[in-house]
Amino acid sequence: MAALNISGLSKHFGTTKAVDSATLEIEAGQFVGVIGRSGAGKSTLLRLINRLIDPTEGSVSFDGVDITKLKGKALRQWRRDCAMIFQQFNLVDRLDVITNVLIGRVAEHSILSSTAMRFSDAERAMAAKALDRLDMVPFALQRAGTLSGGQQQRVAIARALVQNPRIMLADEPIASLDPGNATRVMEALRTINEEDKLTVLVNLHTLDTAREYCGRIIAMRQGQVMFDGPAHELTDAVVRDIYGADGLEDFNEAVTSTSVKGQEPVAA
């Protein structure tokens, strides 16, 4: 049974169709890469799934629950179940790392305990464990804004982990990172996928990363799903079609590549 069911999903911004009747089924435990050029609707798709924005048409359901209809508390709980990490990390720069990670627990807290920023020992231990998995414990009391991009993204993953999510969305998580940090972040997502059995849905710009990590690749163009299949079926011709590279004489994947040859993968 598919965990995530997207049917006829559309989002219009004025006359632009950012996502145009997308229909997808994503099995539990899959590692799915979404590719496509800038403006193809990848981010909008993820934001629709997390309900950061509401769809114009269509529906998204998870384990049989229609999440496009959720409101109030139920909506906040869905967002907790559906963790999200961002290209620009979206941490609160002025708060320390541990508090940033504990933000992953806010869906369980009332106004009163949030005002005092009070978290239980179990929650603090969870945050410490998540930071430990990403080798970030030594930075726990440092302000998030003082960390490097790669470190910030690992803090963001830790925040996502303490949400105890059922699915993990990542919106171009490595687009602002150097190749070494990009590899660490992708390995962390792979570990989460394999060890925690979480479904991972990640937007990527780099094709070789998508081929390396994603068992299944979805390609979007102008809001529509153009390709959906295993990585090896993503041929050069398909890629040209997706990126509209007809005019470019030698469209070269290596130009956007961020792979580091011979780099030891870092376990998360």
Binding site: D121, R124, A125, A128
Partner: protein, 285 residues
């Protein structure tokens, strides 16, 4: 990701600093809060802030408010003209004071900005200069200037301009310091001179902030300009204090209403202007 009891204990033992703040931090926090609350209560007691006094005061306030009715209406132009003149004079004082202050403060603000003036001694002395100017309240400056320049709008304008120099120079130089270095590097890398990096890299970033500060301070000067007249530095305030002193409360209330209407119109206009010039500006980043 779940957590077991033994894991909580283990993490607590290994990283206690992630669970509780150090004792000294907590003690300091309680001490600061305790001191703050004690000071607040002491002030209330010292100024005899008793409920009975408040209650009696509110009753008298109702009496003063009742003088509003029936509202006073000026019947002849000869009677109304000085009021209009006073209102316009207040506007003019605020306008001239704001513009004069801004013109002098603008160059000074660059001297006080860390990213422009790299010589700490000059920067710090300029900044202390702003602080000294700001220590003088406009009203006190007005009283001093009245003694020197005589009664009327001139001392009012000067008082406003001088106090705005301190405020504007501080706010402008903070705006300049909050600009991003990136466009500056871009201009520099294209072969721009020091002046050109400021003109093309810094100015476009600060000008919306400066315009916004100017408009806000003009509004606020229109409001505070009404007070200047009370000490004799021109404007509507003189007429207002005169009516109150003569117990003509009905006319005083009508003047107060006119002031409120004028301030409201200025606020509305400046919001329009701000939107027109700055558009959807989200602050310097």
């Amino acid at each position: 990701m779940s957590i077991q009891h033994y894991e909580v204990a283990r993490y607590k033992a290994r990283h206690p600093h992630l669970f509780t703040e150090p004792l000294e931090v907590r003690v300091r926090r309680y001490a600061v809060w305790g001191g703050f609350i004690a000071l607040f209560i002491y002030c209330l007691v010292a100024f005899d802030f008793s409920p009975t006094r408040i209650f009696i005061g509110v009753q008298r306030l109702g009496q003063v408010l009742s003088f509003m009715f029936p509202p006073y209406i000026w019947t002849s132009w000869g009677e109304f003209a000085p009021i209009v003149e006073g209102l316009l004079e207040t506007l003019a004082i605020a306008f001239l004071g704001t513009v004069l202050g801004a013109v002098i403060a603008f160059p000074l603000s660059f001297l006080g900005a860390k990213n422009i003036n790299r010589i700490p001694f000059i920067r710090h002395s300029t900044r202390r200069g702003y602080d000294i100017i700001r220590a003088f309240e406009t009203l006190i400056l007005a009283l001093i200037f009245i003694r020197a320049f005589g009664l009327g709008p001139l001392p009012g304008i000067l008082a406003m301009a001088v106090s705005e120099i301190g405020t504007f120079a501080k706010l402008f130089s903070e705006a300049i310091e909050n600009t991003s270095e990136k466009p500056v590097d871009g201009v520099k890398a294209s072969g721009g001179s020091r002046f050109q990096t400021i003109r093309f890299g810094v100015m476009p970033q600060v000008s919306p902030v400066i315009i916004s500060i100017l408009l806000y301070n003009f509004e606020s000067n229109v409001r505070s300009g009404t007070i200047l007249g009370i000490v004799g530095a021109g404007g509507i305030g003189f007429l207002l204090s005169d009516r109150i002193a003569a117990y003509k409360w009905d006319e005083a209330w009508s003047i107060i209403f006119l002031i409120i209407i004028m301030v409201y119109i200025i606020d509305w206009l400046s919001a329009k202007i701000r939107k027109q010039i700055i558009g959807e500006f989200g602050g310097t980043k």
